[in-house]
Amino acid sequence: MRNTVISVENLVKKFGSFTANDNLSFEVYEGEIFGFLGANGAGKTTAIRILSGLSAPTSGKVTVAGFDAGKQAELIKRNIGYMCQKFSLYEDLTVKENITLYGGIYGLSRSLIVSRIGVLLDRLRFRAFENRLISDLPLGLRQKLAFSVALLHEPKIVFLDEPTGGVDPITRRQFWEMIYETAAMGITIFVTTHYMDEAEYCDRISIMSEGKIVALDTPDNLKKKYNAETVEDVFIKIARP
């Protein structure tokens, strides 16, 4: 039995009379790549905001990295990484300045930042770009860098909110290789995506519809259960509201 790093029990989030998350319950394990799917407006973003400590649940028990999402949001923030669909690095700063900034925000010491910058740049073969402005880099490189920056403080869990939106297929493939490497290091990946081929790469996926989780299993089991060729077919069968 693997360690549970995210545990959600009967999570409900209401905005006035609108129920964005209706009684969600699921667990995510250490080192797992967990795909979080759903049509737009199904309640994914609300759930991610709660899991990353940005908003408090209306009711239910949510534990992330061992901390309660309602009361210990600040502790959660220190232990997770986050990369959102919109671009998350500053275009008018250089690669090095961006890394230093985020290292500083996460409270890393100067010497630690310097050594991690070195490791990171070497891993991405980015040495040549160290002093280039982000705006001069192609989108694919930026996304890889943004992912690496989200890992800079060695979080236990990384939330990736549509990380590959607008990226070419080759870079997407490379990006997923990075995700696999990261998961192999024991870091949990919680990823949302609209690309169904990417969903196939996940260890387990959950599909949300109208605020509820309507399916949660490995891609293979889901395909068998719904008698479908691909995850995309599964998605179309059950995610349509």
């Binding site: 908003s55 986050y82 008018d92 409270g107």
Partner: protein
């Protein structure tokens, strides 16, 4: 603390990498001071006047010489008949025609009175009023000079007017405080609201919010560089107005700087407030420009005195913060008064600052929910 400093450093980098921000920060204040100081002059200097002298005697000669030598006027033409008046005013260079009646000098000495008419170009009401006032003053002065010797008769009371604090009635005395007031609120509110909404638009705010930085640290980090730069701006404007216009600070410079800091703080918190209600940079710019610039120019007493407005505008202007700062800064710079005379305005600004900060912190939190 390290987190915070790193964040502030990043803000400075944003500012210095973007030359447009620098131009707005420092170019506009300098340009405004120079434009308002030189171009938008409320005094008259070298206004064109023409004379229609139907008398041509020693007295009219003396009086017209006196008018010209005052330095406010230059003579454009010497007219021969009433018919020329319309023509010369239409040409535009001449702003007023001064007419001496027939036998001006003789009547003045014999009857003790003679008449002089001023026909001014009313299409420019401000200039027309100024010209008539100035001319009347010169004529009065002339009267005084000749009265005891040549005119006998009724005793007259002649008011002697003296302008305290601004003896030359120079308009930069009015503009420099106004421009400081306008520039500070514009730059502070505009820049802060834009820099915060920019992070929202680019999606970087999202990342900052999930980081361990607290919302208050994010806000302070955004605002600190602008606080420092705005303060440098105040020094720059004061230095400029001293070197270019010779405008001194009569009161305590320390008090002036302290009040400026309060006003900067108020403007920054207003900027944060604007950023919480706008989701794009355009919106923030629009609200800052329309919502702040017009009220500051029209309702703060910068150009139009509040006392002359209908009561309703007076009430509206009482919620316009620059109104109070203008009073404060004019008092300190021009009259040289101390805190004793401006504590009420200072208090109002302090309360406004606190209210803005409280509302924006609330709003910022609501956004997170």
């Amino acid at each position: 603390m390290n987190r915070f400093l790193g964040f502030v450093r990043k803000e400075f980098l944003h500012i210095f990498r973007d030359y447009r921000t620098l131009v707005i920060l420092f170019g506009i204040p300098v340009a405004q001071i120079l434009i308002f100081g030189f171009a938008v002059s409320m005094d008259i200097k070298n206004a064109g006047v023409a004379f229609l002298d139907l008398s041509h005697d020693e007295m009219t000669q003396k009086l017209s010489d006196k008018i010209i030598s005052s330095g406010f006027f230059i003579k454009t033409e010497e007219l021969l008949s009433y018919k020329d008046i319309d023509r010369v005013l239409k040409k535009g260079k001449t702003k007023a025609v001064i007419i001496f009646e027939e036998h001006f000098g003789r009547r003045l000495i014999r009857d003790g009175k003679a008449s002089l008419s001023i026909i001014a170009d009313g299409s420019e009401p401000n200039t027309a009023t100024l010209i008539t006032n100035y001319t009347t003053a010169i004529v009065n002065d002339f009267n005084m000079g000749i009265a005891p010797a040549q005119i006998t008769g009724a005793m007259r009371i002649v008011p002697e007017v003296k302008m305290f604090y601004n003896p030359g009635l120079q308009s930069h005395f009015m503009f420099v405080p106004g421009v400081i007031t306008l520039i500070l609120i514009l730059i502070c509110a505009l820049m802060t609201s834009v820099t915060i909404t920019r992070e929202k638009e680019f999606g970087t705010m999202e990342v900052l919010l999930v980081s361990p930085l607290r919302p208050i640290q994010i806000i302070l980090g955004k605002v600190t560089p602008y606080f420092l730069l705005s303060f440098i701006n105040v020094l720059l404007i004061l230095a400029l107005s001293w070197f270019v216009f010779g405008l001194p600070v009569k009161g305590s410079i320390v008090l002036l700087l302290a009040e400026s800091m309060l006003y900067i703080l108020m403007s920054l918190s207003l900027g944060i407030l604007i950023s919480t209600v706008s989701s794009t940079m355009q919106q923030a710019i629009f609200i800052s420009l329309i919502g702040l610039m017009l009220p500051t120019i029209l309702l703060s007493g910068f150009i139009f005195p509040i006392e002359n407005m209908p009561k309703i505008y007076d009430y509206v202007s009482s919620i316009v913060p620059p109104r109070y700062f203008i009073i404060i800064i004019k008092n300190i710079m021009i009259k040289g008064t101390g805190l004793m005379y401006i504590w009420k305005e200072t208090l109002i600004l302090t309360v406004m600052t606190i209210v803005f900060i409280v509302i924006s912190v609330r709003k910022f939190k609501i956004r997170l929910e």
